[in-house]
């Protein structure tokens, strides 16, 4: 799935200009990192793609669709095409790992017979096949993060977004998680990951978009 930003600006109601004149193009099957200081606008950019926030200026074209023209009632269908790992919308602790991962499928009205298969396939990909009956509370931070990734990919989205997916994980786990994203990218999924972790990003050898005060100041290889 392609992502195209053309001179996108986002001004919050508070007057805060979180993004301005952001232009870039992410090809189908590309993987890129989004980095920059705290408050640079990384989360805002991902939220625009998810239509959690709407842009104030410019055009965002995803999968050939101009998001500005997309009616509010189609937002859910847009979101189903995108897998996301957001830190503050994590797992639900009132249900098992299985039901957490199954949520996107239930929401889109999938056949229950397929749900079981798809959930197990997703758990298998993140290496947690044996834990489907657990409560996520009983899992480690790294495992929880991987459950979140399984939930993001269970719908087989063609675009995967992640906001600080390695936030509070140790370096070894962080690398593991990043490798996981890389594997999804290898099978054709477009991946965009926002992260602070410059040393980790440098090791991954992918395109890096650097934001500063809401503007893209660098777009290219790792620095």
């Amino acid at each position: 799935m392609e992502i195209e930003f053309q001179r996108v600006g986002k001004k919050y109601e508070t007057g805060q200009e979180a993004l301005s004149q952001v232009s870039f193009h992410l090809q189908q099957g590309e993987m890129a990192f989004l980095t920059g200081h705290s408050g640079a606008g990384k989360s805002t950019l991902l939220k625009l793609i998810m239509m959690i926030e709407r842009q104030s200026h410019g055009e965002i074209i995803i999968d050939g669709e101009d998001l500005r023209a997309l009616h509010k009632k189609y937002i859910p269908y847009h979101r189903r095409k995108v897998g996301v790992v957001f830190q503050n919308h994590q797992l639900l602790f009132d249900r098992s790992v299985f039901h957490n991962v199954a949520l996107p499928l239930q929401v889109s009205g999938a056949d229950p017979q397929h749900i079981g298969k798809r959930v197990r396939a997703a758990l298998d990909k993140v290496g947690l096949l044996g834990k489907e009956k657990y409560n996520p509370m009983a899992l480690s931070g790294g495992e929880q993060q991987r459950i979140g990734i399984a939930r993001a990919v269970v719908n087989k989205p063609q675009l995967l977004l992640a906001d600080e997916p390695t936030g509070n994980l140790d370096p070894r786990l962080s690398t593991e998680i990043m490798n996981l994203f890389q594997e999804f990218n290898r099978v054709g999924v477009t991946v965009l990951v926002a992260s602070h972790d410059l040393s980790l990003i440098a090791r991954m050898h992918h395109r890096v978009l650097t934001l500063n005060q809401g503007r893209i100041v660098n777009d290219g290889g790792f620095s």
């Binding site: 998810m50 859910p76 269908y77 996301v84 639900l92 949520l103 889109s108 229950p112 719908n155």
Partner: protein, 337 residues
């Protein structure tokens, strides 16, 4: 529930990417089946969810039941008063007092003329003399009457209408009386159903009272259900957020809460009907004994099957509406941001 099947992502894709109509139809029917299955599942799940917090659910249902059984009980009471009065003496008489100068022949022909009407069964002719004899029989009048130079009584026609006297036919009787009062020879027409008139006013007052009370208490039920649903939405805030993130439509998010309202409504309604049926069964023996002193074969009426069905339908409907209002107000407060 009148929710239309929402367009599904896959349906839209197959509509745009394939020109084959059969494929489209297949995928639509598949999605309709999954839509129905979703509903069944949600219906069941929302019931199970009520059992998670049985005490709170029970309280809500009890309050609904009390709010509904009050007007329901009054309604049953009114219904019984109605049926008692309908079993009372069904004959009524309209007495026509003719002008003093109306002669016997004229009065007789009027009497015949009236008795041929379809809304009149019979007309009894009471001549001046018969009237006098009637009075003479009653003690105390003899002296007064014998002191009078001539018979002061008018000819009276006692008209028996073909209507049975009930509250429903009272307007017909009254209009018949008014019509007869307008006849040239008639000085004054009297319908001996004043008591019924008063009762009818009383009952219609009672009816309106029950309606007003029902309306008030239905509003109360809306508030109770609304409040319970508001708390349920609030307690599932995280879940709502995650569902929105992974692409749930508002309809999908609303559904479990609407079903919850449905369950509260219908269970509260069942409780209310049970209460009404039990209470009327409990009071029936003494009530029937009292009424039997005045009239034979009275059986206390309670809710009949139709009324139970109506009560349950209404309570389920009110539950869903209450939930709908609460969910619409509170789900939009929960936004990803």
């Amino acid at each position: 529930m009148s929710q239309k099947p929402e367009p599904r992502g896959a349906t839209r894709q197959s509509l745009s990417s394939s020109s084959s109509t059969t494929k489209t139809r297949l995928s639509t029917s598949f999605h309709f089946a999954s839509y129905l299955r979703d509903h069944q599942k949600t219906l069941l799940e929302s019931f199970i969810r009520l059992l998670h917090d049985p005490l709170a659910s029970m309280m809500t249902m009890m309050v609904i039941a009390i709010a509904l059984s009050l007007p329901g009980g009054l309604y049953v009471g009114l219904k019984n008063v109605h049926s008692i009065t309908n079993q009372w003496d069904k004959q009524s008489i309209i007495s026509l007092y003719l002008f003093a100068n109306v002669e016997d022949t004229k009065a007789l022909s009027l009497s015949h003329q009236l008795s041929s009407r379809s809304d009149i069964v019979n007309v009894m002719y009471v001549s001046k003399e018969e009237g006098m004899r009637y009075f003479e029989k009653s003690n105390g009048y003899e002296e007064i009457l014998s002191a009078l130079p001539e018979n002061p009584l008018p000819i009276v026609l006692q008209v028996i209408p073909s209507y049975e006297v009930t509250i429903e036919t009272l307007p017909n009787l009254e209009s018949l009386r008014d019509e007869l009062a307008g006849v040239q020879e008639v000085e004054y027409a009297e319908l001996d159903a004043q008591w019924l008139h008063r009762l009818a006013s009383l009952l219609s007052f009672g009816e309106r009272f029950v309606y007003a009370l029902s309306l008030l208490l239905i509003c109360a039920v809306l508030l109770i259900v609304g409040n319970t649903i508001r708390m349920a939405v609030e307690s599932r805030r995280d879940e709502v957020l995650v569902m929105k993130l992974v692409g749930a439509t508002d309809g999908f998010i609303r559904r479990p809460f609407l079903y919850m309202g449905f369950w509260f409504g219908i269970l509260g309604g069942i409780l209310a009907c049970t209460t009404i049926l039990l209470v009327s069964w409990w009071v029936s023996t003494p009530a029937e004994r009292i009424i039997a002193l005045y009239q034979s074969d009275f059986t206390l009426q309670s809710f009949n099957a139709d009324e139970v069905v109506l009560c349950l339908t209404m309570s389920a409907f009110v539950g869903v509406i209450g939930a709908w209002i609460a969910v619409n107000r509170h789900i939009s407060d929960i936004e990803l941001q």
